[in-house]
């Protein structure tokens, strides 16, 4: 059984510290010199609930103004990290639009289900389709907070109970957690979708056994 590879897209308006979050997550320990130009700059192997997975992270930092590109980014993602800065209300508002677009694309790519039914957004059954995590970044800047926890949490509830985290890329608080949570959602979705078809009984993978060696 080969290792799963999951694609995560990090979205949010400019200046919310997305790239910092991603860089912190990918490099694990602080490396003196960070080079984002190599192929594996945004790949990371992690273990979630005993499963080894590889995350490929697409961070659109710097290209937020390429609105036409957004969809291309979104298409590649299996899970989305929607990042705003707790110091900017606008950055939270802007996420609404991004989330709409994600849902639209994901629904459209399925094609079989009706895109918009009479269901409202608050219906949690809609949410379960697209793994998402809402992240309030810059939690270290408590003094400059412009978005209250309650407000952000309400948004996450409006979105159908999306998990909400407050993180600080600078202090490396909740950085791994948001990615792991998202990854867990993707795995769950994966399982649901591949329930019966061809799932072999797998032994616990903690200690792989190998005949050749």
């Amino acid at each position: 059984m080969s290792q799963r590879e999951y694609h995560i897209v990090v979205l949010g308006s400019g200046g919310v510290g997305k790239s910092c979050l991603t860089a912190q997550f990918v490099q694990n320990v602080w490396i003196e010199s960070y080079d984002p130009t190599i192929e594996d700059s945004y790949r990371k192997a992690i273990e979630v609930d005993g499963r080894h997975v590889i995350l490929e992270i697409l961070d659109t930092a710097g290209t937020e103004q390429f609105t036409a590109m957004r969809e291309l980014y979104m298409k590649t993602g299996q899970g989305f990290l929607l990042v705003f800065s707790i110091t900017s209300m606008n950055s939270l508002y802007e996420l609404n639009e991004l989330r709409e677009q994600i849902r639209q694309i994901k629904e459209a790519s399925k094609g079989t289900r009706p895109l918009f039914t009479v269901l409202t957004y608050t219906d949690p059954t809609l949410q379960d389709d697209v793994p998402m995590v809402l992240v309030g970044n810059k939690s270290d800047l408590e003094d400059d907070r412009a978005v209250s926890r309650a407000r952000a949490f309400k948004t996450s509830q409006d979105w159908g109970g999306v998990p909400y985290y407050e993180a600080s890329a600078r202090r490396r608080a909740n950085v791994d957690e948001v990615f792991v949570d998202l990854c867990r959602q993707i795995i769950m979705k994966d399982r649901r979708e591949h329930k019966r078809p061809h799932r072999q009984p797998t032994k616990p993978r903690h200690r792989p056994r190998c005949t050749i060696l």
Partner: protein, 1223 residues
């Protein structure tokens, strides 16, 4: 010995948790960066080591071993002896080459080259230049903040000289390298507040005054030597004298540092306590240097900071202890030493550390481990120059080799599968691949275990790798099991073949990951050596294929690090001083001082016991075989230590060639070198080939071969501590030129990376690099500086700093003048081609007064010219004409059909007329009316014009992201254009009612995209693909059914090229090959720049990891990285050789403009249109509500707030569009 061998066979072959007992680890925090900086080359050393006999092997009981285990095996470049160690005083004093261990005396400072896991280090004594093996447990790591810079400089010098030995002499043709030493000395004196002759301390303290004089004398003669070497090299003489000069150079460096160490000892005692005992320096007992032993990092867990201080205090109060003179075992060198180099307080504190680390470390390192590997810890070498002589046992090399061979096998493995071969070959290849992989994993384990921090990352990578390999094996097994059952044709089914290839590919990928992580670990802990394993398993492994997994799981489990450690037994040699009881430091210093009388201490006893042992072995024929097979040693309390030293050296010193041969035969042989003359030092240092060795050894044994050198080495040894010698030195060398010698430099405030590039530095240090007098400043450095300096300093500060440089360098004709001219040139370059009026004009006043003041009086014509330039700049600013860099001038030139090589536009007269009509508002035309290639060309011209006008400043510090007042107008215009083009594509398709026409439009855009690709216009290509790939176009099933297969294939091609995954790998690779004009997709450059900006901090610490005394300097690496990307972008800023068709451009721009102005630059509106054109297939939805209405109902759910906001946002975007100069 035999039982020892048995032992090792019994233990797991992979098991190994040996760590060199250099555990003193004074301050692990800073050694890492020092490693990086200084470990640039060690390859030739590795070579030479293999030709020298192995060290004495200290032996001990296991308990002792444990004690010696380090908490963090960090490699220390310098050690300081705190015991005497004279293993074979008779032998070593008579014949230089014959002793293998190097005698050390208390207070000696040693430059360490490698550390054997048994605790012996290969080091060079700074006091004598002698190189050999020495017991690390007699030493402690030596480091002190004030002398650190100097030590670093010396390590650099050593590396340079060693490179020089291998023929890389280029660096010596300039004197840059000496500046590191000068800077080190300066920094040292500065830190000790003894920089000037008139400083209070120097005036008041005779001893220090003398030492300072001596120090400067040493420095002066070092500089002179460097100068001579430079002269020799420039006069193109034959290389022999060069080596002498190199020897002299390094010895002078050693001497200088040795004296600095002594200086520091005196200073630490007297200066700090302020008790200026002017009497005799010989009675001075040095205090522990303030932050040396008192470094809390030593015993972070158990020993609070203040204890050390207490200890120091206690010893200060204690009566001085006489040490050296009473020691009969000492050679004359020691007795002549009157300098107080032995600090008992320091020693006792240091000595407590092992016992401390015992408690800390014992759980980590289980006892009773025996390893078949043999390791040495080295400074990791990055130099590419001497790869040929690299020692293959070095972990880094082993890693590379193992990785290479693994890749080789896995490559053929994949290859075989692609050809659908069957079993025989496949079996063999799989076997080979697995064996190679095992070896690879084994190397990883070695590295992992060697690192006491147990790098989690590496372990993770390895576990992944292991899982991958297991997958691979399973895949192979699956392939075989079926055919075997059927006993039929062994045909590889395509499915399982694919699976196999996938497994192999992911194996390769994780192997790469492993290598990366492993290198990081090696970098941290220092390179080391270990033996090739006898992998008899290799055959048997594969024999079991197809058998139940359980049988082999055990074997597999051995690969798991945790288990390995449990099984591990570790034979660390005991420190020679094993019988000594080790009371806590406080007790020692207070009540029972350390062996004041060395012969009473166990050390000499131990040494004595060594002697008979070694003589016993002298004639034994088994010696060499013992040595070669010695892997780890039996507990040795009963067994006399075999000292291979004597027999060996007496053996081979007459015939170096045979020695070489012998030692080449044994890859694991460890080296040792000898004695107390610089000839032996040479001996150990050189020797890439046998002939070189014999030359060196002849020279070494024949005094008259190089008399001068011999003499110098003698003076070197004897001069220390002898005040008369000092006086003669100083009176001779130190004079008024002292100030000149101590040329102010900030070289010690620079940080270099492994490749020797500057990655950080203080502003004065960076400016010094801009204005070096020895050589032309590096162009990349200069341009990066000019481009980015506004990000880390202000123009005024920059100007001020340049003027300071002008001031402090003085006006000496050899140094001052050239530097001053360079300062002028930098000012000139700034004003002429890098001036940004907006921010820089603040500095105009400073520059002008400098030009008319200091500069004019020093260099009149330069002052005049600079003053002229300044006023010109002022005038130009008034006329708002900022001179731009010359390079950007050619970028806007327009080509016409008249030029050669410009293709004729593909446009018919009728088309032109149509365009004219359209542009005058008299008609309608569509994209379909024109030739796709010409459309692509004209589009490219439009985009390229914009791209070429992007200024480097726009790309710095995320300027393009600024919400207001962004200066990155062209970058933003590019972005807007890209969006508009994408919208234009969607619009042109979606506004057509008939599916057939829509499919034709899609075809046309795919064609245009293909031509854009041909023109390397990736920006437009990206926009087109984006749009065609968007859900609103993709969902038009009826339309796509009508698109021809050919077009679809082409579209797939384009999609693959613009793939955003894997960090735009495809696109990046394509860009690397582009030589012509090009419009790259700016987006990923913007991402790169953003990540560089946010992922790298603006400052970095001068000495690696953080520490109280650690200054932070500008992280120039960050700016270099940004500049590199900007440079890449600029390299594409060449106009296309294409002829414009103004009519077509006008029409296209109007179309683009239409997109920009229409409020439809909103995905939603297009999506609605798409739904109208080809409604959803789900009937209920269509019936329930038309799409548009659905959309509205959706919208209504959004909060009013957010709706308002999104409206605002679009207005915001429009605002920026309108501010766009691209129109």
């Amino acid at each position: 010995m035999s039982d020892f061998v048995l032992d090792s066979n019994d233990t797991d072959k992979h098991a190994s948790a040996l760590v060199a007992p250099l555990n003193i680890n004074k301050s692990p925090k800073r050694s890492r960066s020092r490693e990086q900086r200084l470990s640039r080359r060690s390859s030739s050393r590795a070579q030479s080591q293999s030709q020298i006999s192995p060290p004495l092997t200290p032996r001990s009981s296991r308990e002792r071993i444990e004690r010696a285990v380090p908490s963090l095996p960090v490699f220390h470049n310098y050690l300081r002896a705190f015991y005497h160690f004279h293993p074979s005083s008779t032998v070593s004093s008579s014949t230089d080459e014959s002793s293998i261990t190097v005698p050390i005396s208390q207070g000696d400072v040693i430059l360490v080259h490698s550390v054997h896991p048994n605790g012996w280090a290969d080091g060079t004594l700074l006091a004598s230049g002698a190189r050999g093996w020495l017991p690390t447990n007699y030493c402690e790591a030596y480091d002190h903040p004030s002398i650190r810079t100097l030590l670093n400089a010396l390590t650099n010098l050593w590396d340079l000289v060693r490179d020089g030995e291998n023929g890389h002499l280029l660096v010596f043709t300039k004197q840059d390298y000496v500046r590191g030493m000068i800077g080190g000395v300066r920094f040292f004196l500065d830190k000790t507040q003894c920089l000037t002759r008139d400083s209070d301390l120097i005036v008041a303290h005779v001893g220090l005054r003398r030492m300072r004089k001596g120090l400067l004398g040493d420095l002066s003669s070092l500089v002179k030597t460097a100068k001579r070497l430079q002269d020799v090299l420039q006069s193109n003489e034959e290389p022999v004298p060069v080596f002498d000069h190199l020897d002299e150079l390094i010895l002078k460096g050693f001497k200088l540092v040795t004296r600095a160490v002594r200086f520091l000892d005196i200073w630490a005692q007297d200066a700090v306590s302020l008790s200026f005992d002017l009497g005799d320096a010989s009675n001075n007992r040095p205090l522990t240097p303030p932050s040396d032993t008192a470094d809390s990092a030593v015993q972070p867990a158990s020993l609070p900071n203040h204890i050390n201080t207490d200890v120091a205090q206690a010893t200060e109060d204690a009566s001085p202890v006489s040490q050296t003179n009473t020691t009969p075992a000492h050679d004359e060198q020691d007795t002549t030493l009157s300098q107080p180099a032995r600090n008992l307080a320091r020693l006792s504190v240091a000595f407590s550390i092992p016992s401390d680390s015992e408690t800390l470390q014992s759980p980590l390192f289980p006892p009773g481990f025996q390893s078949q590997t043999k390791r040495l810890s080295h400074r990791l070498s990055y130099t590419g120059k001497s790869q040929g002589v690299r020692k293959e046992n070095l972990a880094s090399e082993r890693l590379n080799i193992a990785h290479d061979s693994f890749l080789g096998f896995i490559g053929s493995f994949i290859g075989l599968h692609l050809q659908s071969r069957s079993s025989a070959e496949l079996t063999l290849t799989t076997q080979q691949a697995v064996v190679a992989c095992r070896q690879f994993l084994a190397v990883l384990e070695e590295i992992w275990e060697r690192d006491s921090r147990r790098s989690e990352q590496l372990q993770q990578a390895r576990t992944v790798m292991h899982a991958r390999l297991t997958d691979l094996v399973h895949a192979t097994k699956n392939m075989f099991s079926d055919p075997e059952a059927d006993t039929g044709e062994e045909v590889v089914t395509p499915d399982s073949g694919k699976q196999l290839v996938n497994a192999a590919t992911s194996c390769v990928r994780s192997a790469g990951d492993c290598v990366m992580k492993a290198r990081q670990v090696i970098e941290r802990i220092g390179d080391f050596e270990f033996e090739h394993e006898q992998n008899e398993l290799s055959q048997s492994i594969f024999d079991h294929i197809g058998q139940p997994a359980e049988q082999h799981s055990q074997e597999l489990d051995h690969l798991a690090p945790s288990e390995k450690v449990e099984e591990a037994e570790k034979p660390l040699p005991a420190p020679p001083s094993e019988e000594r009881s080790m009371p806590p430091p406080l007790l020692i210093s207070e009540s029972k001082p350390l062996p004041e009388v060395p012969q009473e201490s166990p050390i000499p006893e131990n040494r004595m016991s060594l002697q008979p042992a070694s003589s016993a072995v002298i004639d034994s024929p088994t010696v060499s075989s013992f040595r070669s097979s010695r892997i780890s040693l039996p507990p040795l309390q009963q067994v006399p230590t075999p000292s291979p030293a004597q027999p060996n050296s007496s053996d081979f010193s007459p015939s170096p060639a045979s020695v070489t041969q012998r030692f080449f035969a044994k890859s694991d042989s460890v080296n040792a070198s000898v004695a107390d003359s610089n000839s032996s030092y040479r001996y150990s240092m050189r020797g890439d080939t046998g002939s070189v060795i014999s030359v060196a050894s002849t020279r070494a044994t024949t005094p008259d071969h190089s008399p001068a050198k011999k003499r110098s080495s003698q003076t070197l040894v004897s001069s220390f501590g002898s005040s008369s010698e000092l006086r003669s030195m100083t009176s001779e060398d130190v004079s008024a030129a002292e100030e000149h010698l101590l040329e102010t430099t900030h070289a010690h405030e620079l940080v270099h990376n492994k490749e020797g590039q500057i990655t950080g530095g203080s502003l004065p240090a960076l400016i010094e690099q801009l204005t070096t007098h020895e050589s032309t400043p590096d162009m990349v450095f200069v341009s990066t500086f000019f481009l980015t300096f506004r990000l880390f300093t202000t123009p005024v500060e920059f100007a001020q700093c340049l003027i300071n440089r002008f001031d402090y360098i003085g006006d000496s004709p050899s140094i001052g003048l050239p530097v001053r001219l360079r300062v002028y040139n930098i000012f000139k370059g700034w004003l002429e081609s890098h001036w940004v009026a907006e921010s820089d004009s603040a500095a105009l006043g400073v520059i002008f007064s400098f030009a008319t003041g200091k500069l004019r009086s020093a260099i009149p014509h330069a002052g005049k010219r600079l003053a002229e330039l300044t006023s010109k700049i002022t005038e130009i600013r008034a006329g708002s004409l900022v001179p731009r860099m010359a390079s950007s001038l050619s970028k806007t030139s327009v080509f016409t059909t008249a030029d050669s090589n410009v293709p004729t536009p593909i446009v018919r007269r009728s088309q032109l007329n149509l365009l004219k009509a359209c542009n005058e508002g008299r008609g309608q035309c569509t994209i379909l009316d024109f030739d796709a290639q010409e459309l692509a060309r004209q589009l490219t011209i439009i985009v390229s014009k914009l791209f070429c006008s992007i200024q480097p400043e726009e790309l710095l510090a995320q300027e393009w992201q600024k919400k207001s007042g962004s200066k990155a107008v062209n970058v933003r215009a590019m972005t807007a254009l890209s969006n508009d083009l994408a919208n234009l594509v969607s619009d042109s398709i979606l506004h057509l009612e008939e599916p057939k026409k829509r499919s034709e439009m899609i075809k046309q855009w795919v064609k245009i995209g293909m031509f854009c690709l041909e023109l390397h216009n990736y920006d437009s290509l990206m926009a087109i693909v984006c749009s065609l790939n968007s859900s609103m176009v993709q969902r038009l099933k009826k339309t796509w059914e009508l698109v021809t297969r050919n077009t679809k294939i082409r579209f797939e091609e384009l999609k693959n090229i613009t793939e955003v995954g894997r960090n735009y790998t495809v696109l990046r690779q394509r860009l690397q090959t582009v030589m012509d004009s090009c419009v790259p997709f700016v987006g990923f450059y913007l991402t790169d720049l953003t990540f560089i900006d946010e992922g790298n901090s603006t400052t970095r610490l001068l000495h690696g990891e953080s520490g109280a005394d650690n200054a932070s300097v500008i992280n120039f690496d960050k700016y270099m990285k940004s500049a590199r990307i900007i440079d890449q972008i600029q390299s594409f800023q060449k106009p296309y050789r294409l002829a414009a068709v103004p009519e077509m451009q006008e029409w296209m721009e109007s179309q683009i403009d239409r997109m920009r102005k229409s409020d439809q630059a909103n995905v939603q509106s297009y999506y609605r249109r798409s739904l109208l054109l080809e409604p959803r297939e789900t009937p209920q939805v269509v019936r329930a509500a038309p799409p548009a209405i659905i959309e509205d109902s959706n919208r209504s759910v959004l909060t009013a707030e957010s709706r308002n906001f999104s409206k605002e946002k679009f207005e915001f975007l429009n605002f920026h569009f309108s501010g766009n100069p691209a129109k």
